[in-house]
């Protein structure tokens, strides 16, 4: 297969970026999009040109490292699939494919297709954690969690932290990410001790760096971990719940 790739090149956060056009003549349908970039880089190195900087790691859809935008869609044309699981078979022979970094004000470009997504980590640091030190937890079998709640918690805990939700949102909101963490920890008994405190601090941090929810649901379509759209409601529910409780109450 022949594909024309328009790839974003940018030397650093302050540098001016541009699209660069390259042609791949031997793409195959079973190649993943990252393997297509591997192919391009191989070709560039052979021609003594600087290869395209892009991030990836597990290439199994679980680490959340790969974050590229394909033809304006985070991760690529297939819904709910990370870039490493997107394939060339989605394109037709001769098609032009535009590859850009995740676009969001809170994700500055570091180089080419690599962006800085540490803003999401700062939301976690603000309160997406559980204050239990090593060795102090009670017997996990004596704390009962219903089968349903464990499965529900896992639906939200599956977030891979890739940032596609932010990039997909016209407002650059991190509601899906933040809500997934709140909805997950709400169902973990040890984490319930700080439920209100967590909601207040995570939401405050989220609002400091990310935009307001656009309510259109693009985030859930882009999410490779299939985080349910209900996560967005969890942000408001947890925030309002915390608002009704006295500020001195942490749970």
């Amino acid at each position: 297969m022949r594909l024309i790739l328009e790839v974003w090149r940018q030397d650093g956060p302050q540098a001016q970026g541009r699209f660069e056009t390259h042609e791949i003549t031997d793409a195959t349908p079973e190649m993943s999009l990252l393997e297509l970039l591997d192919r391009l880089n191989h070709q560039l190195v052979e021609q003594d040109q600087d290869p395209v900087a892009f991030e990836s790691d597990c290439r199994e859809g679980i680490c959340g490292t790969c974050g590229i935008d394909i033809n304006g869609v985070p991760h690529g044309p297939e819904d709910n699939v990370p870039a490493c699981g997107q394939h060339v078979r989605s394109f037709h022979d001769g098609q032009t494919v535009r590859i850009a970094p995740f676009r969001a004000k809170s994700f500055p470009v570091i180089r080419d297709l690599i962006v800085d997504r540490t803003g999401l980590d700062r939301i976690i640091q603000a309160g997406g954690t559980v204050a239990v030190d090593a060795g102090t937890a009670p017997d996990a079998d004596t704390i009962r969690i219903t089968h349903h709640d464990a499965e529900e918690a896992l639906d939200f805990a599956a977030c891979i932290g890739c940032g596609a939700c932010v990039s997909a949102c016209p407002n650059g909101a991190a509601y899906l990410f933040t809500g997934a963490k709140l909805a997950h920890l709400r169902l973990i008994p040890a984490a319930q001790q700080e439920r209100s405190k967590r909601a207040r601090s995570m939401v405050a941090q989220m609002e400091q760096e990310f935009g307001p929810c656009s309510q259109i649901g693009e985030c859930a379509l882009a999410c490779p971990a299939k985080i349910p759209l209900r996560a967005i409601a969890a942000v408001n529910r947890e925030r309002i719940r915390a608002g009704f409780r006295s500020r001195s109450k942490e749970n």
Binding site: E35, A53, G61, C63, L120, D133
Partner: protein, 667 residues
């Protein structure tokens, strides 16, 4: 031991690739094991550890490298205790470390059921599964601490699967006849890793841990015989800098990517442990490499890696190959009597749940014998039809939904409709930096945790024991043993940054980076990596022999020479440069690969994953306990003298008290 020593050469060999020209026998090592029954070893050791007063803890600086389960756990736990922790990772955020990709589960001998599990049985399974080449005492510690690991990980957010009664659910894994594997669907590693990374985030927010992301370790600073710091390269700016501390903990994972296409993440590499080795840390059992039986086979030239399909699938999936060679029929059209369920037939007691090395060799045997399936005839089937009929599609979906989705995504085939195609792939390395019982390497002050180390898994790791060892090392071992070392350093400041040992190590790193950039050859680093992978796959994989290993060592030396003559690294060193990162890693693989093959050549027996075709009984690995019941711990060759250039094989004898030596038998 005497017989092993007796094999030492007398210096008459002329062939540079003969064993006597390649290696020399070194010293016997002391694992500093407690002098009590292995069952009581950890309790005894903890009682004798020195402690650090809570008020003094913040005066001790500890560097932790890596943020997988072991690294994030160790950093968070040491931070919780009040130490001043500096955490380094080449990722952008801690949560991405490759522990995140582990699928099936985490073992814990909590023994809540009446299936007759216990810590002793866990140790028996682990030691026997590892074919008696690990430490029994370490396995006991793993089992003992493994119990509260589940409590802790649950409390900090891991959403373990629950039964309808609300209690924790378990499943079975290979090499074990009880059900002791705790799980969260097929993404247990992810849930544990996120919980651990977030616990680390809590310490970062509290100020006890400082996080240095996008930094790659390129050397260890050793002065006065102690590890006193590290040198890192900032992957964004290219700046090389040092950080000194009272102790350094390496939790930097395994070296399986030496095989080029493995199930490991693309960035997983051996540089941290190899740099430590070059500075004097012994390397234990490098030839013990686990080939996982159930990975997706290679399907095309550009496929960048292999993808694991969790061992847990063997609970409900049945492995088979057609009885007829080159059977091209759709698998659903092949009638039951024409399917060869070879694991079930050959190993009736364990069936599809035999340990990984046994499964891999049997699958490879079927493929090599011409019974492989798929377009490249390089796979066998993993079939869920029986499981779906017995339990219903809903239950199977609950247990494995994300694995089935992943398979569907990658291959375009639905495992509910058609069996998976799977093949063996390099997956885990049991070898790693040698350490004593306190997880301290042969460089005092340098500790190791997780897959970067050795000890628990011997010559073959049991499924779901790696998440366990990462968690136990990080949360419940290093936080005890590192302070014991620190207690003796009270009042000492970390090495000054203008100390000659620091500036020299920085200069060494800069010179090496410069050397890589200045070769200006004709091929990128990947070219050499691919060639190395082909050598390793051919000669150092599921089965090995003297002739092949000898040949491999010669080929690796040629390739290494070619690399330093002809590698091309595009771009400069003072910016983000992924080609440069790859080149440094490949340069280290080219050295480690030789040691791996020398170790495989040296170890004149079969044990677990190390299967030598000249040592087998009925197709099973034949150990030689009389001569080889020890851990090989390799040291850097001397630069001059009669043994110049020879790899030095030190050895730590292994003794087995609770699980007496016996031949493995899964039939």
């Amino acid at each position: 031991m005497s017989a092993a020593k007796a094999t030492e050469g007398k210096g008459t060999a002329v062939d540079p690739l003969s064993l006597d020209a390649l290696r020399v026998i070194g010293q016997e090592l002391d694992g500093h094991l407690p002098d009590v029954h292995p069952r009581d070893a950890w309790t005894d050791r903890k009682l004798h550890y020195n402690l650090v007063n809570p008020a003094n803890r913040r005066r001790f600086k500890i560097i932790v490298v890596g943020t997988g389960l072991a690294g994030a756990g160790a950093a968070a736990a040491l931070g919780e205790l009040g130490y001043d922790v500096e955490v380094f990772s080449y990722h952008d955020v801690p949560r991405r470390a490759h522990s995140v990709a582990a699928q099936g589960g985490i073992n814990s001998p909590r023994a809540r059921k009446v299936d007759n599990d216990s810590i002793d049985r866990f140790v028996k399974d682990t030691v026997k599964g590892g074919d008696y080449r690990g430490r029994e005492q370490d396995a006991y510690r793993l089992g003992e601490e493994g119990i509260r690991v589940i409590d802790h990980m649950q409390a900090i957010g891991a959403a373990f699967a629950r039964e309808y009664g609300g209690q924790l659910a378990t499943r079975s894994f290979g090499g074990v006849q009880v059900s002791r594997t705790y799980y969260t669907r097929g993404q247990t590693g992810q849930q544990l890793e996120i919980a651990a990374a977030h616990a680390l985030s809590r310490q970062v927010a509290a100020g006890t841990c400082k996080l240095h992301s996008r930094q790659e370790l390129l050397d260890i600073i050793v002065k006065d015989g102690r590890a006193q710091g590290i040198v890192v390269r900032d992957l964004v700016t290219g700046k090389v800098r040092a950080m000194t501390a009272h102790a350094v903990v390496l939790c930097t994972g395994g070296y399986g990517n030496i095989y080029y296409k493995a199930t490991l993440a693309k960035n997983s590499n051996a540089s941290a442990i190899w740099r430590a080795y070059k500075r004097g840390a012994f390397f234990a059992n490098p030839c013990f490499v686990q080939i996982h039986p159930t990975a997706l086979p290679l399907m095309s030239q550009w496929q960048s890696k292999k993808t694991l399909m969790s061992e847990s699938l063997r609970n409900d999936g049945r492995i088979w190959a057609p009885r007829k060679k080159d059977d091209d029929r759709d698998p659903n059209d092949i009638p039951e009597e024409e399917r060869f369920y070879f694991l079930e037939e050959r190993y009736p007691a364990f069936g599809n749940l035999v340990p990984r090395d046994v499964a891999s060799r049997n699958i490879r045997e079927r493929i090599d014998a011409g019974y492989g399936v798929g377009p490249l005839k390089n796979a066998v089937y993993l079939d869920f039809r029986t499981g779906i009929e017995r339990l219903g599609a809903k239950v199977i979906r609950e247990r494995y939904s994300n694995l089935f989705d992943m398979y569907h995504e990658l291959t375009g085939e639905d495992p509910f409709q058609t069996p998976m195609r799977i093949a063996p792939s390099v997956h885990f390395t049991m070898g790693g930096l040698w350490s004593d019982y306190d997880q301290m390497t042969s460089i005092p002050g340098l500790f190791v945790g997780g897959e970067a180390g050795w000890g628990y898994h011997g010559a073959n790791r049991l499924g779901a024991n790696s998440l366990l060892s990462g968690c136990v090392d990080g949360w419940f071992t290093l936080p005890y043993s590192v302070p014991n070392y620190l207690a003796g350093l009270l009042g000492k400041e970390p090495l000054a940054h203008d100390d000659p040992a620091v500036t020299q190590t920085i200069a060494d790193v800069e010179a090496r980076v410069e050397r890589l950039l200045s070769v200006n050859g004709s091929h990128g680093p990947d070219y050499f990596h691919e060639k190395l992978g082909a050598i390793m796959d051919r000669y150092a994989s599921v089965s090995r022999d003297v002739e092949g290993l000898t040949k491999a060592i010669g080929l690796i030396r040629e390739l290494r020479e070619e690399f330093w003559r002809d590698v091309k690294v595009i771009g400069e060193g003072d910016r983000l440069n992924q080609e440069l990162e790859t080149a440094g890693r490949v340069a280290d693989y080219l050295e480690l690969a030789e040691l791996l093959c020398v170790d495989a050549l040296d170890r004149d027996e079969s044990a677990g994953a190390h299967f030598r075709t000249d040592h087998e009984i009925d197709g099973e690995a034949a150990r030689d306990d009389e001569h080889w019941c020890f851990c090989s711990a390799w040291g850097v060759p001397a630069e001059s003298g009669p043994d110049a250039g020879k790899h030095i094989r030190n050895y730590e004898p292994l003794t087995f008290v609770a699980v007496p030596l016996q031949q493995r038998n899964y039939k």
